[in-house]
Structure formats: structure tokens, C-alpha cells
Symmetry: C2
């Protein structure tokens, strides 16, 4: 009888433990599950994010308390379990996607713009506007392991943009105010090597690295053109490409910087949003020459290739940001125009390209499109969604 009673009493205790365990931070189920189909959506106004999965397209839970996410991006640990969120306020937060909770959080600067994770997954680098420079942290503990101020010749600090990771434990970034590209190399020992390329052009505003990690290309806001560095031949220095692509033509006001990251390469071509023009530039990836300009609905913000390179999806800057256009790569023409609603901010493909997730900030919605039928297959309601990041980025260079 005592034994029976013992057993009986045991049940609620056990259940309670399981429920507490499952609740995580935000009530999400903490069952054993793979992480290959996970992702997160930044909720820019509320300093929160939603953890999602792309197999049945559901939200697994919300994580709050991430500070100012008015401009935020993310990278993932190599096992796909943790996300590192770079907030606008210099916050660096490590999220446990399986427990839907914050694993660690620090404020590492006064104003940051983005970040990257080293090839071996052990280092997190953050690019800062204030104080201008890059800080590098241990991915496990978030302890700082290196501080690289972006000191210019006059002694002041430059804002840093376009930070990416590259093969061989490298980080590459650009100095907005100085017009320089720096390569930080953690393969050489505890003290990283630093190589500086000067006079690369005025005001680099963002950059991309090709998916093989070979070419780093920075967009120049102060000039018509881009700066390119071949990481296999660093001695050849930085060269200019697409020089003067807008010269002699009337420039339009720039309401929003175009962004260069994402899957810019489709087959033999790179698709780049032009600055201050309603055009996507098509660049031959072997000659680095412009081969075509595709007129589009507005100033493009992101031009992202479907992973198979057959389509490029484009969103636009205010005031034309209610629209998404799809470029067909073989014909290099627009085959579809959607108007999902006000403030389409970001687009993210699943790694094999069958879905694309699109955030529509002012409608508090993320739409999931089937890229074959070209129909919306699911809608998730989220609060002021902006960036969408899937764990498949963990296995890619520069994302």
C-alpha cells in the first residue's frame, strides 16, 4: 500500500518535471529532434525572435529579451543547435534553438551591424559602428578573444561593414570611412594576422563572398563600382570591377542601401542590386564584366538566387517595398511580380530551394512560398518580422 501510494505520488512529480523540462523559455516542446530544418525570424520591434521549422512550417516558440533588434542578423553553430544574434545595440546573444531560450547574452559594443562565424565554428566575429572595429568572441563562452579597432590614419575609428568568414579561419571586412578592406587571419596562432588593403574606393557599404569562399566583393557607395579581392591571390591586391556602371546617367535618391549577402550567384552569373537605380546588374562570374542590366520595380535591396540558380528573387526599398519580383535566370527576364504587402524586408530559401520564406513587416506576416508551384503554401503570424535565418547557413561559407 505504501509502495502503491509511492507510485501514485510519483506520477505527478514525474509529469511536472517533464512539463518543466518541455516548457523551455517559451513553452516550446523540448523533445528530441533534428536541427537541420530549424530557423528563426527576427521580430524587430519587440526585441524577440520566433524559432521555426521548415518541414511542417510551424513556430516552435518565441525568445524574448534580445534588446534592440531594429537591425539584426544571425549565424549558427556547426551543430545547428545555437544561433548567435547580432543586435543593433551591440548585443550578442547566443540562443539555444532546442530549448527556445537564451543561452548567453553580452553587450559587446555601442552599435553593431553584423557578424560571422569562423570555419571551425569556434570564433564569433562582430562588426561594430561604435566603437568602429571588429571584436572576436569564443563561440562557447562569449568571452572576447580579440579586439581589432578600425583605426584610420588620422587616429579615429572607422565604421566596419561587410564582415564575412572565409576558409582558413579568416574574417574579411570593409572600413566604410577609410575605404579599406582588412583580412583577419586566425590560422597563424593566438595573435591573428592582419592584412590591410588601402584605397579600395570610397565608402564600401556592404560586401559578399562567393559561396566557395574565394572572392570578396564590396559595394562602393561613394563610387560607381565594386572592389574585388581574390583570396587565393591576395598579393594581386584589390581590383575594381563594374567601374562606372552608372556614369553619365541621372542618379536616383537612395532610400535604402542595397544588401549584397545571400546567394548572389546563379550558375555563371552574379546578380547584384544596383545602388540608386531600379536595376539588377548581371555580372559574368569568370570575367567579372557586366553582361546585362535587368530593369526592376524599384531600388532592389536583396537579390537572392534560389539554390539551384534558376531564379533570383528580389525585394525593394521604401516606398516600393510592398513587392517581390522573380527573375528567370535562363531568359534573364522577370517572370513574376508579387505584392505580399507593406514592407517586405527579407527572403530566405530552404537549402535545397523548394521553399522561400518572406517577411512582410507591416502586415505582421511571414509567407512561405513553394518555388515550384509559385504559390503561398503557408503563412505564419509574427510581430514585425524582418530577417529570416535557417540553420542550413551553418554549413556554408560567408552566411
Amino acid at each position: 500500500m505504501i509502495l502503491n501510494n509511492g507510485r501514485f505520488l510519483c506520477v505527478p512529480v514525474l509529469l511536472l518535471l517533464i512539463i518543466v523540462g518541455m516548457a523551455g523559455h517559451a513553452g516550446a516542446a523540448q523533445t528530441l529532434r533534428g536541427t537541420g530544418d530549424l530557423g528563426l525570424i527576427i521580430e524587430r520591434a519587440s526585441g524577440s525572435l520566433v524559432v521555426v521549422e521548415t518541414t511542417s512550417h510551424t513556430a516552435l516558440g518565441r525568445v524574448e529579451g534580445l534588446g534592440d533588434l531594429s537591425h539584426a542578423s544571425a549565424v549558427f553553430s556547426r551543430d545547428g543547435r545555437f544561433a548567435y544574434i547580432f543586435g543593433r545595440d551591440g548585443g550578442l546573444t547566443k540562443i539555444d534553438l532546442l530549448r527556445t531560450e537564451i543561452a548567453k547574452r553580452i553587450i559587446q559594443s555601442g552599435n553593431s551591424i553584423g557578424g560571422a562565424i569562423s570555419q571551425d565554428g569556434k570564433l564569433i566575429a562582430v562588426s561594430n559602428y561604435k566603437p568602429g572595429g571588429v571584436r572576436v568572441f569564443d563561440a562557447e563562452t562569449l568571452e572576447m578573444v580579440a579586439d581589432i579597432p578600425a583605426t584610420m590614419e588620422d587616429g579615429t575609428l572607422s565604421k566596419v561593414v561587410g564582415l564575412v568568414d572565409a576558409p582558413g579561419q579568416k574574417f574579411i571586412f570593409s572600413l566604410w570611412d577609410a575605404g579599406e578592406i582588412w583580412v583577419l587571419d586566425f590560422s597563424v596562432g593566438p595573435e591573428p594576422g592582419l592584412t590591410k588593403f588601402k584605397n579600395v574606393g570610397r565608402n564600401p557599404y556592404d560586401a559578399l563572398i562567393t559561396s566557395d569562399g574565394r572572392y570578396y566583393v564590396a559595394g562602393l557607395f561613394g563610387e560607381d563600382g565594386l572592389a574585388k579581392l581574390d583570396l587565393w591571390h591576395m598579393d594581386a591586391g584589390v581590383t575594381r570591377i563594374l567601374d562606372g556602371y552608372g556614369r553619365g546617367e541621372e542618379k536616383m535618391p537612395v532610400y535604402k542601401m542595397p544588401h549584397l549577402e545571400g546567394w548572389a550567384r546563379a550558375g555563371d552569373y552574379l546578380f547584384l542590386p544596383a545602388v540608386g537605380r531600379h536595376e539588377v546588374l548581371v555580372v559574368d562570374a569568370s570575367t567579372w564584366r557586366e553582361v546585362k542590366r535587368i530593369p526592376v520595380h524599384g531600388q532592389p535591396v536583396f537579390a537572392v538566387a534560389r539554390p539551384d540558380g534558376r531564379q533570383v528573387w528580389v525585394n525593394f526599398a521604401h516606398p516600393r517595398n510592398d513587392t517581390v519580383q522573380v527573375i528567370d535566370v535562363p531568359s534573364m527576364s522577370i517572370i513574376r511580380t508579387y505584392t505580399p504587402g507593406k514592407a517586405v524586408l527579407h527572403m530566405e530559401f530552404t537549402p535545397r530551394g523548394e521553399q522561400v520564406w518572406i517577411s512582410v513587416r507591416d502586415e505582421d506576416r511571414v509567407d512561405v512560398y513553394d518555388t515550384r508551384t509559385m504559390q503561398v503554401m503557408r503563412t505564419l503570424s509574427t510581430q514585425k518580422p524582418s530577417g529570416i535565418f535557417l540553420t542550413a547557413r551553418a554549413g556554408r561559407t560567408g552566411l
Copy 2:
């Protein structure tokens, strides 16, 4: 007191449940963990496999009872939790990597050679020698959803090789005896569409699909050349490339078929093992012309590009299979020759390329190389290891 007693009794019951839960099939810890850094090693003689992780390079557990794995390969579910193993005896086994146990197992044919997973992760296709054809299964339940016998004009069945998945819910494969390439299309409805390309060349023995999923290339054993299909322009049919690459020169005996899968593309080039020659062929990926032949140590079996495309690692057929050579892509020359030991069977890179795992069957060893220092960083002892497969394949086309 009764309450106390109840609580006290509760503890062992609770612990027992946790331990049973954690034990899994093979004693591996079943703690909450990401699946992005998991993989498995086929143990070909014992019908078993070892689940491994690439962050600290450890084995998490062994799964036994997989039948004849004397030639086996694997694909992964889109969440990275499950592996599907294609055994030589027609066995199709679904493995739960987190629990280190068999989730489901069927014998689907008398003799099978490989398999693939559909773009949406819902279908598993297996290529069979006996009965010759392809069978397609529900990834969740392993129930058969389609049976496609490879019927030739004379009514007999052909062996099927070179089965890959392609964008748009397609599977592509080649008929060894018939010299045909077939495209199976599950995007059109419950009954798949089937397109046949005839007279593609004698005895296609294996195939690859480029990582963007656009070109399917089958090696021809009966002819000097390869058959290429552009999936973006199927109406253009199958064309021949590298025709007569060995013509007029003395052929060597083929002890082992070269294999074509893996990361064959490095930058602008494809690196292909030649049939019956001690050479790796370099093909320009835009013109599909041979640009160079690199003399190597023996008949190459696998030529696998490091994900950044800067190196290609090559292993060899018996009797020269104790060696691995590394080709430097920029200079197209061999920069390193290793002799890991007898019967080097397979090589698998981590998705960002910082490690390569190499199986040395007759030494019961898998060596993990750091691809930057070019040193062995870890050795795992396993029983007669052959194929090595990492979950990062889940996010790729054709792997």
C-alpha cells in the same frame, strides 16, 4: 511521512526512466543535441555502422543488424535526424541518429546499389540491380509509393545505376544494360511522369549531378566518353562529352569502377576519374571540354573537391589503394601524397571543408585530416570502415 516515502520511492523510478531513455540501442547518450555535425561510418564486414560527430571527433554509438553492407551508401532526412541506408542485399534501413538505433527496416529488392532523397524530403528512391529498376518509398513509413521496372525493348530488366535527386521532385538514373537515362518526375501528381533518353552510350556505370542540380553526367564504361543531360533544356536531349578521351592509347585493366559522385566541381572545373587510366580528367564546366589530364598514382576511384574548390582529394583502386593524393586546383598539380594504409575506400569533407574523414578498411581506422595543416588531427578505430556520410548532405542536391 507517507508523502516523504512517496517522494523517496519516486527517485529510483524516475532515474530508471531517464536511463532507459538515454540508453538508446547502443548505449549512446541521448541528450538534447544538434544534428548538424553528425555523420555515420559504414562498417562493411559486420553489417553495422558507427554514428559520429565532427566537432570533437568522437563516436556516439554503433548500430547493428543492417544486413549486407559490403557496398552501402546513405542519404539524410531534411532535419538531419534520420539516415536511410541502402545495403547490397536490397535492405533499406532508417536509422535514428539521435537514439543510435534502427527506426525501421525493410528488404525492398534482391540487390541494390544506391539511393536518393527527393527535394522535399518526403520520398526515398532506391536503384536496384535485381530486379532491375527503381523503387520509391515514403520517407516516413518506408511504404512503397512507386515501382519503376527498368524494362528494356526485349522485355528484360536492366540494372540501374547513377540514381540522383534533382530540383522539382525529380529523380534521374541510368540503365547499365540498356544505355538509357530516365527522368522520373514526382511534381506532376501521384503518378510520376517518366521521360526516357535512349542510345546515350554503352554501359553507363555511374553518374553525377552538378551541385546546382542542372547537369546530369553519366560515365560510360563501354565507350570513351560521358553522356550529359541539361535538365533545364531536356528537349535538347542527351549529348556526348569528352568523346574518345582515351582513343588510340593503350587501355589498362579496370580493377575498380571509378565513382563519380561527391563534390566533383572545383571553381570552373570538374575533376573526373578516368576509366582504366591513371589520370584525373579536368573538364571546363562551361564548355564541357577537356582542359587537362593530371597523371596520378593509380586508377582513381573518387576525386572529391574540398568544398572551397581549392583542392581535390583522390583515392585509388586495388592494388594501389593504400594511397591518397591531393591536387592543388590553381596549379593543377599534385601537392601531397599520403599512404594511410591498405584499402583507402572513401573520403568525406565537413561542409565548410576544414576536415576530411578518410576510411582505411584493412587497418580498421578512420583518419580525420585538418585540411589546412594537412595533418591527421584524430583517428577513430572502426571495423572495416567503407563509406562515410555526414548530415550536411541533407541540404545538398544529389548527395
